[in-house]
C-alpha cells in the first residue's frame, strides 16, 4: 500500500485510467454479462476482450496493452479447479506471477496488473473488481513515460 504514496499530486478529474480486461468466455465474460443483467454499475473505464480461456492470454498481450497506453490490465478466468478447459486458468496464474515480477522490474506497479477469478455467477465480484481497480489507478496516477518505454 505504500508504493505510490510519494507520487506528486495529480488532478484526479482530468485523469481517466483505461483498463483492458481479458475475460474467459465461460466464467468471467459471463460474470460481466451478469453484472449487466443485474444492472450493477461500475466505472466505464474498462474495455473487455473476450477470449475462450484465460489460458489463451499471451503475456505479450498484457505487455502490448501497457505499451499502447493501458493504465491497468486484468486477466480474468474461472476459479481454480473450475476451468472449462481443465487447467487453462492455472497457466494464466503462472504467467500472472511471472508478469507481475516482470512489470515491477519495468517500473509498473503491481497494482496495475491483476489476475482475478470471477465465476459466471459473480456479477457483483466483476463490478467490484473494476471499481476497486479504477480507484487504485486514480490513486496511482498515470504510468511514467520511462516505464512505458521499457515495454
Amino acid at each position: 500500500m505504500e508504493a505510490g504514496a510519494h507520487r506528486p499530486e495529480h488532478d484526479p478529474g482530468a485523469y481517466e485510467p483505461k483498463i483492458v480486461a481479458f475475460c474467459c468466455n465461460w466464467c468471467s465474460y459471463a460474470g460481466a454479462d451478469l453484472a449487466g443483467t443485474t444492472r450493477l454499475q461500475y466505472p466505464p473505464n474498462v474495455r473487455i476482450i473476450r477470449v475462450m480461456c484465460s489460458g489463451r492470454v499471451d503475456p505479450t498481450f498484457v505487455l502490448k496493452a501497457f505499451a499502447l497506453g493501458a493504465d491497468g490490465v486484468i486477466v480474468a478466468g474461472c476459479h481454480p479447479a473450475d476451468c472449462h478447459y481443465i487447467s487453462g486458468n492455472e497457466k494464466a496464474a503462472m504467467r500472472g506471477d511471472f508478469l507481475e515480477d516482470f512489470l515491477e522490474e519495468a517500473g509498473i506497479e503491481s497494482q496495475r496488473f491483476r489476475v482475478e477469478w470471477i465465476a459466471g455467477s459473480e456479477g457483483r465480484k466483476f463490478a467490484d473488481t473494476i471499481k476497486k481497480m479504477v480507484a487504485e489507478l486514480e490513486r496511482l496516477g498515470p504510468i511514467t513515460k520511462e516505464a512505458r518505454a521499457d515495454e
Partner: protein, 697 residues
Amino acid sequence: MTAPEPQNKGTPQGEPAKIAGAALVPKVGVFVCHCGSNIAGVVDCGKVREAAEKLEGVVVAKENKYTCSDLGQAEIIKAIKEHGIERVVVASCSPRLHEPTFRKCIQQAGLNPYLLHMVNLREQCSWVHSHEKDKATEKAIDLVLMGVSKATRLEPLEAREVPVEPTSLVIGGGVAGIQAALDLANMGFKVYLVETQPSIGGKMAQLDKTFPTGDCAICILAPKMVELARNPNITLLSYADVEEVKGYIGNYDVKVRKKARYVHEDKCVGCGLCSDACPVKVDNEFDLGFGQRKAIYIPFPQAVPLKYTIDKEHCLHFKTGKCLLCVKACTNEAVDHEMEDEILTLKVGTIIVATGYETYVPMKKGVYKYWEYDNVITGLELERLINASGPTGGHLIRPSDGTTPKRIALVQCVGSRNKKIGNNYCSRVCCMYAIKNSQIIMEHEPSTEIAVYYNDIRAFGKGFEELYHRVREDYGVEFIRGRPAKLSEDPKTKNIKIRAEETLLNKITEREFDLVVLSTGLRPSEGSKRIGKILSLTTSPDGFFQEAHPKLRPVDTAMDGIYLAGCCQGPKDIPDSVAQAKAAASSAAAPMFAKKVTIEPLTAWVNEEVCQGCGLCVELCPYGSPELVPGQKGGTKAHIIEALCHGCGTCAASCPQKAIVTRQFTDDQIYCEIQAALSEHGRKQAPKKRAEAEVSG
C-alpha cells in the same frame, strides 16, 4: 468439450491470412441496435453510427430498433446483398445470447457465418453505466472500433458436422435418472444408467409418503424401477462409478468402474440365504442407522437389481480370511470373494446428469445439538421412523427410550436460507415435507401435539396450500413463527426445551418437547461434485449445477450434449424432478434423432514453417491434442489433432515461436482489439497534456 472431427482431414482450414500486410481491407457493415431503450436510453446510438461510418473499411452503418427482429435481420441481409459487405459487426447484446441468431442471418445472405463479430453494448455498456450517458457513448464507440478492427481480420471457417452415437448415458439412478432413462429407452435409444449404490431408487426410495397427495413413495417408484430393469434398451450398471469422460457431443468415450460386489450378478437370484447365514450385523445406511443389515446385503427389500453385495469393510472374510458362511449358504455359487473391479468403456452420444442431492448435516457444535441429544433427529430420519417398511414398522419412537413421543417440534430452515453457513437458498421441499410428516404423525397418533417452528411457510405448488390448511385446521398442528435460539435437554427425561421468540407475539417462549425434528435442507451431493469435475460442469453460487439459461434452457448445460435432471441442478420436489427428467430426455433425444450435429470450428492450427518442434504445446495441452510429428520439409514439428482440440488457446499463448494460431482468436485479431481499445480516439486527455503528466510523474 466440443472438438470436431474434421470431415476432410487432409486440408486444415485455410491458413489465416496475414491481413496486417494485406492491401485490401474487407468491406464491413456495422449494425447498431437500440434494443428498444435498453441501449438507446443510455448510449447515443446516432453518434455511435456516425463514428462507425468513418472507420476504415466500413461501407454501411445502420441503426435498428431491434436488430434481432425479423425487420432488423432483413436489413442486414439487404445490406450484404446491396453493398457486398464481407464482414458484419452487430453492436447489440452479449454474443452469448444472440451470436447464433446473427450467424444464421448472415449465412442466409450467403456469407460465411464466422465473418460476424458481436459488440456487447447492452450487458457490458448501457446496463452498467446507465448514469453516465456521455461516457457510455464514448465507451460504445470504442467498443465498436474494437469490433470493426477485429472483424476486418476474421476468416471464413467451416462448421463441421459430426455423427451422433444414438446412445445415452444417464448418471444417477434416483427418480430423475430412472425417468430420463425410461423415456429415452422408450424412444428407441440405447441407454446406460450408472448408479453408485448397489440399488437404484435414490433418496425417493427412503421416503415414506409424498406430499401433497400422500402416495407411498416406494409404491409408486418400485414399478418404475422394475420397468427399468426389464427394458431391453437399458443397461443398468449399479454399484458403478463414472471415472472419465472424453470427447464431445455425439461422441463421448466414457470409462466406468463397476465395483466388485463379490457376488456374481448373473448367478445371484436374490434369495437371501447368504444374508441369513452372515454373522456380521452393521447399521443400515438406508435406515440412517436406525435398523441393521448384514455384511452381505441388499439395501432394501424392493432393491433393483435384486442382487446381494458384500460390504468389504465389515465382511469377516476380508478381515480375518475365514468365515465364508455365505459361500456355503449360496446354492448357486454366486458369492465370490476373489471378484475384482471391472472397467468398462462406453461410447455414447449424449449424457444426462442426475446425480441428486444430499441432506444437510447439522453442525457438530451447533445450536440444534443434533450430535449431543438423542431426541433431536433430522427430517430424513423421521421419514424412516414413520415408514411402514422402516426399522420400527412405521411406529414413531423416541431414540432415547423407544417410547412414543407425545409432543413433537419440527424446526424449519435447518441448513437453508442461512448466509452464515453459505446456504443462502431455500431448499423448497422442507416446508411441505414437514407439513406432510406432521399429517402422518397425527393420523397415527391423533393425541400428539405438534409445533412447527418456521420462518416463512412456502406452500407454492399444486395442492400444497390446501395441505397446509388441512394440517392447521383438521389436525391442529401449531405453527410458531420464529427460529429456535436455544435447545436444552432435561438430563433425566431426555426431553428437550426449546427457547424461541414467537415473532408474531413479540414474546420469548420456552416449551418442552419429547422429540425435535430438524427439517434439514438439500445440498449438492458429493457425487455431483465429482461428476462436475469430470464433465467440467459449472455450478451456480449455491453449488448446484448451472443450467445454460435459467428460463429458456433450464435442462441444458453450457456443454453441448450434456443435460441436467433432478436435484443436481437445484432443490426440487418429485414432480419437478420427473418433469425435468422428461425434458432432459427430450433434449438429449433431439441430436440423436437428427443423427448429426454441427460443431464450432474454433480449433488451433500449427504453422509448420515457424514451428521449431520444441514440444511445449504438447506438454501444456490438457487434452493431448498437439503431437510431434516429422515435418513435411524435415525436422520435428507440432501437429494439432483437431478431434481432440477444444480451442482453449493455451498452446498458442505459450508458443515461443508464435507458430500456433487459434481460429477466431488469433494473435493478430487480439492485437487489433487491444490497439483499438487504447487508441487515442475518445480519450479525454489530449496527447500533449498526457505527455506532461507523464513527465511530471
